[in-house]
Each structure stands twice: as structure tokens, then as C-alpha cells.
Amino acid sequence: MLADILQLLVAGLATGGIYALVAIGFALLWQTSQTINFAQGEFVMLPAFFVLIGMGYFGLPFWPAVALGTVVTILALGVLFKKLMVDPMIHHGVLPLVIATIGLAILMKEAVREFYGADAWPFPALAAATNVTVFGVAFAVQSLVILAISCAAMVALQLFLNGTRTGRCMQATAQNPTVARLLGIPVERMILYTFLINAALVMLASILITPIYLAKFTNGELLGLYAFIAAIIGGFNQVRGAIAGGLLLGVVDNFTAAYISSQYRMAVPLVFLIAVILWRPQGLLGRVEERTV
């Protein structure tokens, strides 16, 4: 029984780590540019296909294809997304941009279906499908690798945001762009950096999750929803909240599937979400924000 619980915990934390990477993107974009990106799930789905195109069409080995995919992802989902969609739309308010990102999600999904087909495709795993036994409990090496990479990425991001001048400038931009501008911080560039970081995070999430999910045009639907819920549960305006929300959601999801029912695995996180919205609307680690009408 204890072995089962530990295995579920590690598997849940590994999946939750990926949710957290995607949820961080929600929090970052919201904080710096008031952008809620409902195409975030599709942003995770697409890089896997960039890698597959690199391997299939250009004949590249896996890691060079990942490097190519990373460059394309940062350009397309970072720079172009900001320049072509967010910048022209943001002046019209949050809602038009939300609707635009929903449209973008549909476009990306249907484009992949049109050009790559509706089938699922195998995707290479980062580690062999073996186990390590610790105190008599067998843990999947792949889960441990995913957990380690996710944690390393989150720690690196926190160090960057808190320990570097650029990171602090980004935080200042997030807190008050007008004052940040008065202090001489290049606000536009800081906002661009958050889009680039988000693109890098979705790329990482993509190569971690796709070996489990298989590459398919619908992958973003569930991922985007889970990450959005995770960001709200943790606190939409705090990166550490998104991390906590993601990890928590991964664990709750796995324990629900194991001990309640697979059919209710989506329902329990939603009940959790409603409870958080009712009792702590700013999220578990979020900050209360007040705005004048």
C-alpha cells in the first residue's frame, strides 16, 4: 500500500511538474502584459511536431531536431506571437485578446491535423523505460527524470527572476510598468523576454510530456485546461503559485484516478478549483489585487 502511494506520488509530481511549467507561462504573460493565452495548451502540442518535422523531413537525429524545434518555437510562439497577435490586440483590452488566443488555438490544432494528420505519432523518450528501486519501491526512471528536469527549470527561473538584474527589471515591469518606465527600465523588451521564456518553457514541457501522451493534434486541449486550473489554484499572479498549483494538481489527479475513479479524475480538480475560488479567490499563494472601476 505504501509502495503504491509513493509510486503514485512520484508519478503525480512528474506530471504536475509539466503542468507547472505550462502554468508558469500563464502567470508570466498575465503579470507582464495582461495576456491570458488560451492557446497555451496548443503551444505545448506544437513544438513536438517541429521536432518530428526536423527528424522526419530533414533527417536530423533527435537532439539536433530538438535544437531546431527550440529555435522555431521561440521565434514562432515567442516573437511572432507577441508581435503579430498580442501587440496589435492588447490595446483593445483583455477580452478581445482572450478570444483571439482561443481562435489561435483552433487554428494551430486544425493546421496540425491538416498537415500532419489526425493520427498519434510516437515521440522519443528522454530516458530508458527502466526502474530504480529505493527501499523496496520501484520508481520509473522516466518519471524521476521528468521531475528532476521540471524542478531544475523552475529553480533556474526563480534564480533568474530574483537573482539577476534583468529578472528584477521583469518583476518591476510586472508590478508597475509605468513606474518601471520612469526608472528607465526598457519595459517593452522585458515584456518580450517573458514571451521568450514562455516559449522556452512550452518547448521543454512538450519534449517531456509527448513521449507519454504521444504526439497528437488534440494534446493541447487537456494540457491547456489543466495548466489554467493549476495557475488559478496556485495564484494567477505568482510564479511560485503556478508551480505549487501544477504540482498539487498532478498529485490530486493521480490519486483520484487510483483511489476514486478514472471517470472522475477531471471532476475532482474542478471541485478543488471551485473551492479555491470560493474560499481564497487569489489562489493558494496568490496576491490580492484591487482595481478601481
Binding site: P122, T218, A258
Partner: protein
């Protein structure tokens, strides 16, 4: 002069219409081109396309070309009904598909009312027990396949306990119920009964439950993509198996998606492109040349379904939907009669199918046939 020109033009038009080819024979494919079982629907559709192209190259059916129209159910019963209505409005001679048993269930009555022969890919046991005289399978129902698998588990694997993971849809529920019935009559104890969802992507928790059951055999019964994900997760967590399943677990698509994780999987396959039969081997080569991928059993189902319709229609010598359905009941078609049927096939009075089947194992990423099982009726 103007009148003369008009008369000449009219005469020319009449002559041209007289020389025009006979009207097309309309075939409709209503199936899962997208959605959670697009893999199966895509294979079935491509099998149909290949057969139609081959037949049209030879002049069609009764010297009339076949016009194939495709409708995507999106693996969604609501959409399936709407698409089937569109297909019926097009007045097809025959409808092929769907593959997803849940979709078959919601559309079969529409075709029965329209009196249009319905060649399905669904395998849920109950489909042929609903008294539809226009419905015909292209592969075994679960009531035919499950006893063969249960015998294999008892006789070959000598298993006393079994852990079952299945997909909670019409196909999975029908298979689960049938398998449990067969296990009970053979004194094999079910020690884990893990239900999963169609389109599910994360099976970590489900595999933990299977591991905890510590069964002699793990039985995997789901659609191809989910089978592949289950096998990958099972190997990730070090679940030993042996893994047993039906056609979907051993299908080419599952093997391709699961990679090394599929090695060692065993089971019963009703239909396979790896069958050691010349007609099937030739079909596989033609399919690969045309579509650039290896077909799974659904490719054979779609292909042989078209040829069954062609054979019966030419036997009748006319396009008569009612006569087609009536003639197919109790009919046996051999590859000698019609090479496109690939394997000798018999339909009973309910539209259920009977043909030889296979025991197979996945070795080095390939399906290896270990035994050929005879037709039930022999």
C-alpha cells in the same frame, strides 16, 4: 438558319448524353477520420479507397464507376448521426463504417429504415443481436473472439488470475463483459478490473493498480492509441506482464506507437496484415505502396468490405439494395471466388462474420503469427 443551328446543337447534346458513361455507383464512408479513434477510422477508409481505386481501374461494378463520398464522425455519436443523415440524403448504394461501436449503435437504425446495406467496422458484441437485416460486420464480434482468447489464457499461459484494463465505451464494455463471462466458465479469477476513458493520455495511476494486483496475466483491451500508451506506461513502471489482448493490442499501429514496449505482447487477432496468406501479403504490399504506411486490421476490413459488396452485386447482376442484404445472409465468399475478399469469409443470418483467426506475439517490433485457428463453423 438559326433553327437549323439549334437543331444541330440539340442533336449533338443528345448524342453526347447517349455516349456518356453510366451513372456512378454511390458508396459512402461514414467513419472516424478524426477524434480519438482516427487511427482505426483512417485505416478503414484507406482500405476502402484502395479497393475503390482498383475496381474503378478495372471498370467499376457492373461497368459503372464507384463514386466514394467520405463523412467524418469525429468519433462523436452526435456528429455521426448528422453525418449519416447527410450520407443517406446522397442516396448511396451502400454505407461503410463507422468503426467505433458507439457510433454504429446510434446510426444503424437510420440505415435500417432507409433500407441501405451497412458494412460496419464495429466489434461490440451486441451489434448483431439487434435484429438489423442490413447490418454486416467486417470483423469478429467479441462473442466470437473472447472465447478463443480465454482458451489461450487457460491452455497456453496456464493462468489462474487476470488483471484487466479496459476502455469504458461500447467496444470496451462489451469486450469486458464477454471476457469476464468466459473467464468465469474457465475458473480464471479476475483480480483487478481497471476502467479507463476513451482518449485518455495518462495511465500512471491505472498501471499502479495493475501492479498491485500481481496477476498471472494482464489483459489490455482498448483502442490502438490507448493500448500503446498503456504499454509504454506499463514498461516505464516495470510491470512484467505477460500482456495479452485482442486485435487492437497487437495491431500494427499499436506496435508502431508503443515501440519496444509492445515486444512480448501476445493474443488473438481476428484479422491481421501479417497473416501468412498470399492474398493478404499482396494486399499489404499494395496498401503500403499507395499510402506509404503498413495497414492494420482496419485496412483489411475496409478493403474486404468493398469487395464483398462488389462480389454480391455482380452475382445479382443488378444494383438492388434489398437483394444485396438478403444474399449476404448465409453467404460464403472465398478468395477463389473473389480475390479481394482476401480470406474465406461467411456471414450468418444476423450479419455476424466467421473466418479463420490467428494467435500472435509481438517479436522485435513485428507481429508474428504463432497459430492459425479454424473458422467456428468448421
Amino acid at each position: 438558319m438559326t433553327r437549323l443551328k439549334c437543331a444541330l446543337a440539340l442533336s449533338a447534346l443528345l448524342l453526347m448524353s447517349g455516349a456518356a458513361p453510366a451513372a456512378d455507383v454511390k458508396f459512402a464512408y461514414v467513419g472516424e477520420i478524426s477524434g480519438s479513434i482516427a487511427v482505426s477510422g483512417g485505416n478503414f477508409r484507406d482500405g476502402i479507397i484502395l479497393a475503390v481505386e482498383e475496381l474503378n481501374a478495372k471498370g467499376g461494378i457492373l461497368k459503372q464507376k464507384i463514386a466514394l463520398t467520405q463523412y467524418d464522425t469525429q468519433t462523436n455519436p452526435g456528429v455521426a448521426r448528422a453525418q449519416m443523415q447527410k450520407a443517406i440524403d446522397g442516396d448511396p448504394y451502400v454505407v461503410l463504417g463507422p468503426i467505433f461501436s458507439g457510433n454504429v449503435k446510434v446510426v444503424m437504425q437510420m440505415l435500417q429504415q432507409a433500407e441501405i446495406p451497412h458494412i460496419i467496422g464495429g466489434e461490440a458484441a451486441e451489434l448483431t443481436s439487434l435484429g438489423d437485416p442490413y447490418l454486416f460486420r467486417t470483423s469478429f464480434g467479441q462473442q466470437i473472439g473472447m472465447p478463443k482468447i480465454a482458451n489461450f489464457i487457460r491452455d497456453e499461459l496456464k493462468a489462474k488470475t487476470l488483471a484487466l484494463i479496459w476502455v469504458n465505451n461500447d467496444f470496451g464494455k462489451g469486450g469486458r463483459d464477454r471476457l469476464i463471462k468466459e473467464l468465469n466458465t474457465r475458473n480464471i479469477k479476475l483480480v483487478a478490473d481497471v476502467s479507463t476513458e476513451s482518449g485518455q493520455v495518462d495511465f500512471a495511476a491505472d498501471v499502479v493498480k495493475l501492479k498491485a494486483a500481481n496477476a498471472d496475466v494482464v489483459f489490455v483491451y482498448s483502442n490502438e492509441e490507448e493500448c500503446a500508451r498503456i504499454m509504454r506506461e506499463a514498461r516505464r513502471q516495470g510491470l512484467k506482464g505477460p500482456f495479452v489482448g485482442d486485435t487492437t493490442l497487437l495491431s500494427q499501429k499499436t506496435i508502431e506507437l508503443a515501440g519496444d514496449a509492445a515486444n512480448g505482447v501476445m493474443g488473438h487477432v481476428g484479422l491481421t496484415a501479417d497473416a501468412p496468406l498470399k492474398e493478404v501479403e499482396d494486399f499489404k504490399a499494395r496498401f503500403q505502396r499507395r499510402f506509404n504506411y503498413v495497414p492494420d486490421h482496419n485496412g483489411l476490413k475496409g478493403y474486404s468490405g468493398v469487395y464483398a459488396v462488389k462480389y454480391v452485386t455482380e452475382k445479382l447482376g443488378k444494383l438492388d439494395r434489398k437483394a444485396l442484404a438478403k444474399t449476404m445472409h448465409g453467404l460464403t465468399i472465398t478468395p477463389k471466388d473473389e480475390p479481394g475478399i482476401l480470406i474465406e469469409t461467411t456471414w450468418d443470418t444476423t450479419g455476424e462474420i466467421d473466418r479463420i483467426s490467428f494467435l500472435a506475439e509481438v517479436v522485435d517490433g513485428k507481429q508474428k503469427i504463432t497459430k492459425i485457428l479454424p473458422k467456428i463453423g468448421k
